[in-house]
Symmetry: C2
Subunit: 470 residues, 2 copies
């Protein structure tokens, strides 16, 4: 049988390759990765920049050597430039030229890229997206004074030239963060740790829009308290400078800055499939079935380049996140090895740390979206203690739950607080996964002991209040 | 209509009274409480003894004055001595003698009592159960040197004479804790904070039996590291002394101690119902339907004196815990006020702190019990990080999941660890509540971000491993 060919050597691709090899060791598995890095923790990069994580190496889930130990034929710096689903081959450009590779099964795990449109001037030196290890290394080098060594960037396949260039420059004193999503909020924390003056520009009127207004408000207060200057409802038109970043222009005003990080969204890497019969959804990501198979038999997609079934709406949706990539990749690996495993759904569950605030969200919180999906949304927000009031260490926890008025079905929720708030979102996510009603959640036998939770956990308090509104 | 009469002024009773008054303000609600204390946090008492909670007053959820502000007719030191379900009356002994009170609806919320059987010598001064505020006050007084004031025990209705007696004695230096359940483990932490030498005696061969072997092992190691001398598989036959506790006799050996705390279990307070047609289960607790109504129409039971429906087995079961009492009481209050509300089920979800270890459990972990209920149990235990490996602050988290081999249905789980382990049991509890299979849990879209969880949360890792065994 022709090999199982994987395009992309990150979370989804290598999860699939590893699982397939484990299930069916005799079959060849070939992974083409166009870059030099494989299987690294994107989500850890801000903490490396911050200095909380010592080395880029700590962010590698698997080194290329470990991948080869699994008997996976990993080819880095090999870019798949064409997919021919009729013939069952891919065309690959590598250091030794072009080659054609037949496949028995194909997995498209090409990921996503950070967009910088429509911001002008992103090509100036000192502008970054936080979407590659080389960028993380360069930012850390930039933040390091010229007379100090750059810590943790000495990995053999890092872009050493770029690191050296930034290591030689005077560290930035003022930063522009363009975008108030995960990257923006996490990079604010990272830059603050280095003592930078920070301007954060956000086009919408609030931070972290998918987390809802209540989380956004708490996070905005937190960032302001930490000295971050927030510019909400403010669109950055251009990054300006003479070869190097010197300013950003936003809503007609120019702000002097020395570094700019852009985190305004990602787009799926699916250009490769444009001329194939593999269908993409309105998001631009690949549409797949419950086993991750695309509209072309034998061709699968997983991770940031593919859509998934949303557990609340049942519809195909695109929410590129780390666990999903790992889970989908693993399932596809099992399936192509002859042990079919569903890829599972998504609830859009996400958590993010904003300085000391932990934030979580899952499901559908936005009423307009809920109505579009045919629901009649009702939301309630409560603030409750995270532990028994008399027990030390507790903190206010704000919970929002959203449900459908007629069925009582839970649609989504968010949490924010400094004491184990984010992790509590898993309770709500599990309830969504099971299609529970608010009443069922309200009556759930959750844990109570003074050091951990009040008698009524904040999630239960929210469920009680929302239940009373239905 | 005759009033809604409640027997017992603690969590279930006052939750019911408050809810009924809120729903139907014009109806009289009478609560008879045989003691002087109402609505206090049992679970907080060890932390008052430890000194982490300053005052007993902090443990009061509602003061008698607050109860009266809710227009509830609260009668403390009134003991209901007879229930006549034919006539719809209760006979009450109070400071002014006996009275007969007719009821429209009756709620039995008499709670449970700590058993000391079959231990001889419990009547010696210096022997305690941790089941009353007066006992907590007396233990704290005993631990306080005679020349220091007893902190936080100056509440008007405390047993001041008992407090004064113990306040005058030399503090104990060596403690016997009889029983290695919640009370035993929490009191070990409390006594250790006061520098006592501690012997903990446990008749079974492990601590916290309902939490399973894996949690028990971690907790035993933790207690030993904290200097607690564990005597497992050791039965205390007697507490010995001349008027005051001087020793305990266990497995034929005598250990000199100055104080003894017995926490070997609780029994429901249902003697009052012996001569009524209200049925009790094999546990001795009252059998109720989904609205908390007993076998006699108009008579309800809630809290530690009543059974509940177990969400895994569907059978009536007795697990007396705080949230259940509050939830059942509240539901009965709504129901008798004309707004029927189910009392909900129980999963036996519980959390306990053992020094720095947080422990959680839910559902059915014990294989013998699972087989008795008609399941074919399979369990797996894993240890995984609580955060991404490279992110600071993480800790090993041990998770056990148990499922039915044939259906794949999740039956129960436990967790232990020092970093937000206990709270994660709510994910498993919610999955049980929804009747999820291990596969469904494995594919759940739980939260991931380096500061909060690894890509695969420890619960998901356990689900993956168990799923592979089914």
């Amino acid at each position: 049988m022709d090999p199982f060919v994987v395009i992309g050597g990150d979370a989804a691709g290598l999860s699939a390759a590893s699982k397939a090899k484990r299930e069916q060791p005799e079959r060849d598995v070939v992974v083409f990765e166009r870059g030099t890095w494989v299987s690294y923790a994107h989500c850890g990069m801000p903490y490396y920049v911050k200095g909380e994580v010592d080395s880029l190496a700590d962010l590698l889930s698997l080194t290329p050597a470990e991948v080869r130990e699994r008997d996976i034929d990993l080819r880095r710096e090999h870019e798949v430039v064409d997919v021919d689903t009729d013939r069952g081959t891919v065309t690959v450009e590598g250091p030794e030229g072009s080659l054609e590779q037949p496949y028995g099964h194909l997995l498209v795990a090409t990921g996503a890229h950070a967009t910088t449109d429509p911001i002008e001037g992103f090509d100036l030196s000192g502008s970054f997206t936080m979407h590659s290890m080389d960028a993380a290394a360069a930012v850390r080098a930039f933040l390091t004074p010229p007379d100090e060594p750059v810590r943790g960037a000495d990995i053999e396949y890092v872009d050493a030239e770029r690191v050296a260039a930034f290591a030689g420059r005077e560290p930035p004193e003022t930063a522009a963060i363009v975008g108030g999503g995960y990257v923006g909020v996490e990079m604010a924390e990272a830059f603050a740790a280095h003592g930078l003056d920070i301007h954060l520009f956000q086009r919408p009127d609030r931070l972290l829009p998918p987390f809802g207004e209540d989380v956004a408000e708490v996070v905005a207060d937190e960032l302001r308290e930490e000295g971050v200057e927030l510019h909400l409802s403010t669109e950055v038109a251009a990054i300006e400078g003479d070869g190097e970043v010197e300013a950003v222009r936003a809503n007609g005003t120019t702000h002097d800055v020395d570094i700019a990080v852009v985190g305004i969204g990602v787009r799926p890497n699916t250009n490769l499939l444009t001329d194939t019969p593999v269908e993409c959804g309105t998001s631009g990501a690949v549409v797949v079935d419950e086993f991750g198979e695309t509209t072309v038999e034998g061709v699968y997609a997983a991770g940031d380049c593919s859509e998934s079934r949303h557990v609340v709406t049942g519809e195909s949706d695109w929410v590129p996140l780390g666990l999903t990539a790992n889970r989908e990749g693993r399932a596809v690996g099992a399936t192509v090895a002859g042990a079919p495993m569903p890829v599972g759904g998504i609830a859009g569950t996400a958590v993010v740390k904003a300085f000391e605030q932990g934030c979580g969200r899952t499901g559908i919180l936005d009423h307009e979206r809920a109505r579009d999906e045919g629901f009649e949304p009702v939301s309630e927000t409560i603030t409750a203690g995270s532990r028994s009031g008399y027990y030390p260490g507790g903190a206010e926890t704000t919970v929002t739950l959203c449900a459908d008025r007629e069925s009582g079905r839970l649609l989504g929720g968010s949490l924010v607080g400094t004491d184990r708030a984010a992790i509590r979102i898993d309770t709500v996510a599990t309830a969504l996964e099971a299609g529970m009603t608010v009443g069922e959640l309200e009556r759930s036998d959750l844990a109570y002991a003074p050091p951990f939770s009040p008698v009524w956990d904040p999630v239960l308090v929210a469920a009680k209040v929302l239940s009373g509104e239905l």
